[in-house]
């Protein structure tokens, strides 16, 4: 048995290793997902909606004839962009909300209303085009789409973000920028230079050593096993929507605002969801709206669900970074300059959060706060490719891909250990340097990986004739501390204590696999220990349903592990008061004379006592109801740190890179549910190493057609491919509230790609800045084959 983490504060349930509360439902196949509900055996009249997909990277519908599709037996409705109920809809956006409910007039990115619900204009291969059908089977719906006659005006397209910025490039969104593809600066910035502190020119002039580094991240897909969709039906004037997007309340807001419906006439339900990793942050998808219209027209339940191919639908943004960093001989960093070129893909969605908003609001204050001279700028372009946005964080992996190697290179030039350089310079805005959390994280990682044995670049022994090994690491601030969640507004939680002393817990948030439901049950059990109960006596409500009345927490980020838990002590206090009131009546005593410990109510200083269960059972058999709705504390505490250390093996003959070991360290403040947290740390490496080495969306450059939107050619890691991962959980940093915690689910992937690049350099002495790292790139870097650029020159 491996050694588990040691909690700073011992609690009865929070912080303990135990099974997931939904483990049996999921392992037995009983857990229900959208796919398991939206069946004809459950909704006999159900119709299947299919939308026309663009065969072209960039095109316009010149004319449309749907008459043959309408006549196909089994087709119940054909809706097009020309229909008045579609044409009259407002322009919209794919990313209304970062993590709290927003309305149309308060959406995060009002500047870029670049989506229409069905349009004559298509901007990437697979884009939803102007026709959607509802039919009795998927096959009939598919056939109906084949019968739609479209005359396309095929437009020139552009796939590369740098080319997209050039004058003369085909303009993808003239309604946003008629002159080119560069997105206007975000509503949070005046210009492309979105952050400037001190004087970077002066800072670089003071430096003894200046390094430059470039990186190129790619559009990595979420590739959740459960695909996205919705089932909609009307009962009178009320619309019900089951969906695999994880934000019931926000989905309700989206539908009501787009269709001009009152909130009480739309009910949204989230059953179990087959993975998310941030894809719901582009949750304001047009398909909700056209599915609702189809259901209204046909008066039938209508299911719209992506096929596997269609579910390659949004991604982590491709971002190209250039970083310049300068330091004095003693290792004091004097200046840093980050410049990025962001690739939005066909729609802006949350791209500006990845390149600007979260870099400025999170990474800069979280890690770079003590660099005296700092400049950050970004240029973002539309391209005719898959849109980008949130994926396990937003923008953090991409900037870390240049930051980690820049720190590594700078330390090499200075002749310093990069661990020491990092501890000397980096920390968050609200605390001193050295930062206690960063130091603890890096020291733990260095110890576990055996950092002191690291050799000079390329100077290690050779294994099996051609293989070289190397060590590398990278680090980043974690995010989603309690204070960062204040915009969520009031957090609502309710418990009902039944007369038999069992509990129904309503802490609504969609269950996507993060384990926040287990965290909530454990914190609820801790808050109610006086009842003499444990997690087994608490039933959580698995489906989030806007009609149950409490606002759900958007399952966007890892703070879900504790934002609702923060309300549990308040709930516990309310329950206790109510039990005491009942007991006081039964004992004929004053409330002040009574107390409760471990399920027993007793009269202080006497032998007189009674179990809570007896008190409840002898009362009116009506459950005790305790509901809390309170905002979060605003005190700002900064954030803790995370790091990944890896050992890689590079085959210098084949160029193959293998990650042998990864040590993943997180300082969480409080670990709510260690088996869940370690599951994120270990499991996140399957995704992170995949993004670094094997996963890549491949486009045909001649047509813009994506070639591998499937699980055979988009190469996810399997059980055989995964490195051995050592998860390390620390509780050093302290936030606010009962748990003083910070999330970790996003940041489990943040540092791995950069750590792998640094480890490759340590193994073979060549730097690679582009991922995924493919064997030919390694061989080219080693000079064993010509690199691609020179190959292209020869042609």
């Amino acid at each position: 048995m491996k050694e588990g983490f040691k909690p700073r504060v011992l609690r009865k349930f929070v912080g303990t290793y135990r099974p997931k509360i939904d483990g049996w439902e999921k392992a037995s196949g009983e857990a229900e997902y959208l796919d398991d509900i939206a069946l004809k055996v459950r909704f006999p009249g159900m119709l299947y909606a299919k939308v026309l997909r663009s065969p072209y990277a960039h095109a316009r519908i010149k004319s449309l004839d749907v008459s043959r599709a309408e006549q196909l037996p089994g087709v119940h409705a054909v809706l097009t962009y020309q229909d008045p109920e579609v044409a009259s809809l407002k322009p919209t956006q794919g990313g209304w909300t970062p993590f709290f409910t927003t309305s149309y007039d308060r959406m995060t990115w009002p500047t870029y209303k670049d989506r229409r619900v069905l349009s004559d204009r298509v901007r990437w291969v697979g884009d939803e085009a102007g026709v959607v059908v509802a039919a009795e089977s998927e096959g009939i719906a598919q056939e109906a789409l084949r019968l739609v006659e479209v005359e396309w005006e095929v437009l020139p397209f552009v796939l590369d973000p740098v080319e997209a910025m050039n004058p003369g490039a085909p303009v993808i969104h003239p309604e946003i920028n008629p002159n080119g593809n560069v997105l206007p600066p975000s509503p949070f910035a005046d210009s492309e230079v979105f952050l400037e502190s001190g004087d970077v020119d002066k800072g670089f002039a003071e430096a003894d050593v200046i390094v430059e580094m470039e990186s190129d991240y790619h559009h990595a897909d979420h590739a959740c096993l459960g695909t996205r969709g919705c089932l909609m039906y009307w009962e009178g004037d009320k619309l019900t929507c089951y969906t695999s997007y994880y934000q019931a309340d926000q989905t309700r807001m989206h539908i009501t605002q787009m269709l001009d419906l009152p909130l009480h006439k739309v009910r949204v339900i989230n059953p179990y969801i087959g993975g998310s990793f941030g894809r719901g942050n582009t949750g304001e998808q047009p398909f909700f709206i056209f599915t609702a219209i189809l259901a209204k027209r046909t008066r039938r339940p209508v299911l719209f669900k992506h096929t596997r191919r269609e579910d390659f639908h949004d991604s982590r943004n491709k971002i190209i970074y250039h970083c310049r960093m300068g330091a004095k001989k003693d290792g004091t960093i004097t200046a840093a300059h980050f410049k990025s070129i962001g690739d939005a893909g066909a729609y802006s969605d949350h791209t500006m959060a990845a390149t600007d908003y979260c870099v400025r609001g999170d990474f800069a204050p979280g890690t770079l706060a003590h660099i005296p001279n700092l400049k950050m700028e970004t240029y973002v372009a539309y391209t005719n490719k898959i849109p980008g946005g949130c994926k396990r964080g937003i923008g953090n992996n991409q900037i870390n891909l240049v930051f980690g190697p820049a720190v590594d290179l700078l330390s090499e030039e200075l002749g310093m250990n990069p661990v020491e350089l990092a501890i000397k310079n980096f920390g968050h805005e609200w605390g001193p340097v050295p930062d206690e959390s960063l130091e603890a994280v890096l020291r733990a990682g260095a110890r576990r990986i055996g950092w002191e044995k690291r050799h000079k670049p390329g100077a290690g022994p050779t294994y099996d004739g051609s293989k070289k090994r190397g060590l590398g690491f990278s680090f980043h601030n974690s995010w989603h501390a309690l204070w960062q969640e204040v915009p969520r507004g009031h957090i609502q939680v309710s418990v009902r204590v039944n007369p038999d002393c069992t509990v129904i817990l309503d802490a609504p948030t969609a269950e996507t696999g993060t384990g926040s439901n287990t965290c909530n049950v454990l914190s609820c059990a801790d808050a109610l220990t006086f009842l003499g109960i444990g997690p087994e006596e608490i039933q959580w409500i698995s489906h989030t349903d806007t009609e149950r009345g409490l606002k759900d927490q958007v399952q966007t980020d890892s703070a879900i592990a504790f934002v609702q838990s923060e309300m549990m002590p308040k709930v516990g206090k309310m329950v206790k008061e109510k039990v005491l009131e009942l007991a006081a009546a039964q004992f004929e005593r004053a409330v002040e004379d009574l107390d409760i410990i471990d399920g027993q109510v007793f009269v202080k200083d006497t032998e007189e006592e009674k179990s809570v269960r007896d008190v409840l059972w002898q009362a009116d058999l009506v459950p005790i109801l305790a509901t809390v709705s309170e905002p979060l504390p605003e005190e700002v505490t900064g954030t803790p740190f995370t790091a990944t250390f890896v050992e890689v093996e590079v085959d210098t003959e084949t160029g193959q890179v293998e990650v042998l070991r990864a040590v993943v360290i997180h300082d969480c403040g409080t670990v709510m549910y260690p088996a869940g947290a370690e599951g994120q740390q270990v499991g996140g490496q399957a995704m992170a190493v995949g993004e670094t080495l094997t996963e890549e969306i491949v486009y045909d450059p001649a047509t813009g057609v994506p070639l591998n939107f499937n699980f055979i050619d988009y190469k996810l890691m399997t059980m055989l491919d995964c490195p051995e991962v050592e998860p390390v959980l620390l509780e050093v940093w302290k936030g606010t509230g009962e748990y003083a915690a910070c999330g970790l689910g996003e940041s489990v992937t943040t540092c791995t790609p950069a750590a792998v690049l640094n480890a490759i350099y340590n193994a073979v002495g060549v730097r690679i800045g582009t991922i995924p790292v493919k064997p030919e790139m390694v061989l080219a870097a080693l000079g064993k084959i010509p690199n691609r650029a020179s190959q292209e020159e020869r042609r």
């Binding site: 997931k20 049996w24 999921k26 392992a27 069946l39 179990y272 599951g679």
Partner: protein, 196 residues
């Protein structure tokens, strides 16, 4: 939920591969007979199912046996794994008519206390995480593990990794899944129930 054949609490799983087979097909108009979770069922071609329907479609869409999931629909992920005559197969890559005369076991046919289900549900020892997060791939892993442990009741870790490398888990619970399978093997050995 319209489950054609419900789960029997605490009961033993129906023995596979030994039960009486349906008669050999006689004419194309004869119904298909499949023994599903212990009970023979008949399906008329053209009425109940089409020749183009997959076994996954028959089980999920017609019978409401939704434990198996269709995630890739092309044999790449293993989420649709069921046992046919005791062997793990991909039900999205098997036509319903191919199951004619065969014995199909879906996860609904396993008892509540099945050692593999329990091992997956319980997995939480330090250092590996849980054996499931979102749970969408889990029934496929459980059934693949059932088939594998039937063939190899005392596997090594490397054998488990090899055997289950055809199943994808995007949450990346692989390390904990491997531990759960090893634990399930121990449970089965100690319970003396190595039959599937």
């Amino acid at each position: 939920m319209n489950r054609a054949i419900g789960r029997s609490a605490g009961g033993a799983a129906p023995a596979l591969g030994t039960a009486e087979r349906g008669e050999v097909r006689r004419s194309p108009s004869d119904p298909i007979r499949v023994r599903i979770n212990g009970a023979w069922q008949q399906f008329e071609l053209g009425r109940d199912i089409e020749t183009s329907h997959t076994l996954a479609y028959l089980l999920r869409e017609r019978l409401g046996l939704t434990g198996l999931k269709v995630a890739c629909d092309e044999g790449a992920c293993g989420a649709c794994t069921v046992l046919m005559d005791g062997e793990a197969i991909l039900s999205c890559m098997t036509l319903a008519v191919e199951a004619d005369g065969h014995e199909v076991l879906t996860i609904e046919g396993l008892p509540e206390d099945d050692p593999v289900i329990e091992a997956f549900a319980e997995q939480c020892e330090p250092g590996y995480g849980t054996a499931l997060q979102c749970g969408f791939c889990t029934p496929g892993f459980v059934m693949a593990a059932k088939g594998f442990l039937h063939e190899n009741p005392h596997p090594t870790l490397d054998e488990v990794k090899e055997a289950l490398s055809g199943n994808l888990c995007r949450c990346g619970c692989y390390a904990a899944i491997a531990q759960a399978v090893l634990r399930a093997a121990d449970k089965m050995a100690s319970q003396g129930r190595q039959e599937v």
